[in-house]
């Protein structure tokens, strides 16, 4: 680990910001076309973020400020561990456990900051967000642990390398269809898209954790959202869709997967939080267990 790693990490952060924000903007356009609208400009998301940054902001105590910075810092620290195709800023730290633990720093910083604002809507939103996290993490971790057992690796690029060279049918999504479906359902929950967006719910709890944020704080939360979206989608692309032999291949897969999730989100209504938890503990958890048992006892799909 030398100075070049840190320069790469910085470049990676800049790239992720530009890439993911463009994809989000394009997806707003896709969503608009889905609803037969013209939709905003593709760079609207950049304008929104910079505008939020250009406004003044208020504080609700130091926990409120510190939590935002802790969340953004935690998420950015996680982002630099994610490989983009074969490109990695730091070698050998793209482990799924490191990623999920560092991701939790960001989530908890966000929860701390939102609770520090003292607004009851924020508390309700945070409690729903954490409940949602508990719901999707259990089936997802069951799945990931059985994959780690099968492939004897826990690094993202290791999973990706094992799937490359056999074409599309070599992807884990096709070798383990049950697991693939569970992963996509869990990804929908991770991204907070419909039907699992009850913790944002603008018309019901006034955008939940974000209720007291304005100006620069809100701009930082938008940045945080872009980075965390990148992390979550990248995990699935690496583990289930073969990562990428080149960075371009990874980016194309990433964009297609994210757009697909967004289109699903565009046609669904919203689950209540108890319905979401019940759903996750019924269908995806059962499927994940079945997939795990298949992997452990028959080895079907593990070449």
């Amino acid at each position: 680990m030398n100075i070049m790693n840190f320069i790469y990490a910085f470049l990676l952060l800049v790239f992720v910001f530009l890439f993911q924000t463009s994809i989000t903007g394009i997806n707003r356009k896709v969503m608009a076309r889905l609803q037969r609208r013209r939709g905003p400009k593709w760079y609207q998301q950049f304008i929104d973020i910079f505008k939020a940054m250009s406004k003044s902001s208020t504080t609700h105590g130091w926990i409120f400020d510190f939590g935002v910075i802790m969340a953004l810092g935690g998420i950015m620290a996680t982002t630099i561990l994610i490989p983009i195709g074969p490109f990695k800023a730091f070698a050998d730290v793209d482990n799924i456990f490191i990623v999920s633990y560092l991701l939790a720093v960001g989530m908890l910083g966000m929860a701390m900051s939102a609770s520090g604002s003292g607004n009851p809507w924020a508390s309700i939103g945070v409690s729903r967000a954490l409940t949602n996290m508990l719901a999707y993490d259990v089936p997802f971790m069951v799945l990931i642990v059985s994959f780690i057992y099968a492939f004897k690796t826990s690094s993202l690029s290791g999973f990706a390398a094992l799937q490359q060279g056999a074409g599309i049918l070599g992807w884990n999504f096709f070798r383990f269809p049950l697991g693939g479906i569970v992963a996509l359902i869990c990804l929908q929950g991770m991204l907070g898209k419909k039907p699992f967006d009850s913790f944002i719910a603008p018309a019901e709890i006034a955008s939940g954790p974000m209720v007291e944020y304005g100006g620069r704080h809100l701009g930082m939360l938008f940045l945080l959202h872009e980075f965390s979206t990148f992390i979550e989608v990248s995990i699935i692309v690496h583990i289930f869709f073969g990562g990428g032999a080149t960075p371009l291949e990874f980016m194309v897969k990433y964009a297609l997967l994210y757009t697909f999730m967004n289109i699903i989100s565009g046609v669904f209504p919203r689950f209540k939080i108890d319905q979401a938890v019940k759903f996750y503990y019924k269908v995806p958890l059962a499927l994940a267990f079945i997939q795990g048992l298949i992997i452990i006892f028959t080895g079907l799909g593990v070449s």
């Binding site: 505008k51 406004k55 003044s56």
Partner: protein, 190 residues
């Protein structure tokens, strides 16, 4: 009662710094609104927002709370109770902020001109940057009004929030005269 004009174009003809111009470009192209739907005007906003007129193509959209919003859109008449909440909401908004009065009721009371319980003129209490006249204004008029607001922000003419700060005494006196007291109770941080 002395009325101060909001858009008094003094001799500061584009005295903005370069970063203020850039900021104004961003603020003009991304207008997030808090709809204060007091009256019947709210019914014109769903068609403005959805597929037919699609306000999102200009970067506009509804926001859930005053903290996140740039524009306070007051749709319809104001009673003395709603005026109090509007003042609270306005003071919670972050700084380059704009007020749009929507419909005749915010201009001169509209059909409630002789009611004892409505506020007749919104700009005695808050600095209104733009009025959209009509009873009710159709979505075409709303889009046209926001087009004007966008070009005002781009040119740096929508300075109601600065005006409010400079003439706070005058606004505060009017608010107190109509409401008795304006007191923001912050029960979480006492």
């Amino acid at each position: 009662m002395k009325i101060i004009s909001n858009n008094s174009k003094t001799d500061k003809e584009d005295m903005r710094k370069i970063w203020e111009k850039i900021g104004d470009y961003f603020r003009a192209n991304s207008i997030w609104m808090k709809w204060y739907c007091t009256g019947c005007g709210a019914i014109e906003l769903p068609p403005t927002m959805t597929s037919r007129f699609d306000m999102e193509r200009l970067g506009m959209g509804p926001m859930a709370t005053p903290r996140q919003a740039d524009v306070l859109l007051i749709t319809g008449y104001l009673s003395s109770k709603t005026l109090r909440r509007i003042i609270y909401s306005y003071e919670q908004m972050q700084d380059p902020k704009y007020v749009v009065g929507f419909g005749s009721c915010t201009i001169n009371g509209g059909i409630y001109y002789d009611s004892y319980a409505t506020m007749k003129q919104l700009d005695n209490y808050l600095p209104v940057d733009l009025y959209i006249a009509g009873c009710m204004p159709r979505p075409e008029a709303v889009m046209n009004g926001f087009d004007t607001l966008i070009s005002m922000i781009k040119k740096g003419e929508a300075n109601g929030w600065k005006h409010y700060k400079e003439n706070y005494d005058w606004y505060s006196r009017n608010q107190l005269h109509s409401l008795g007291e304006v007191y923001v109770k912050d029960e979480f941080h006492e």
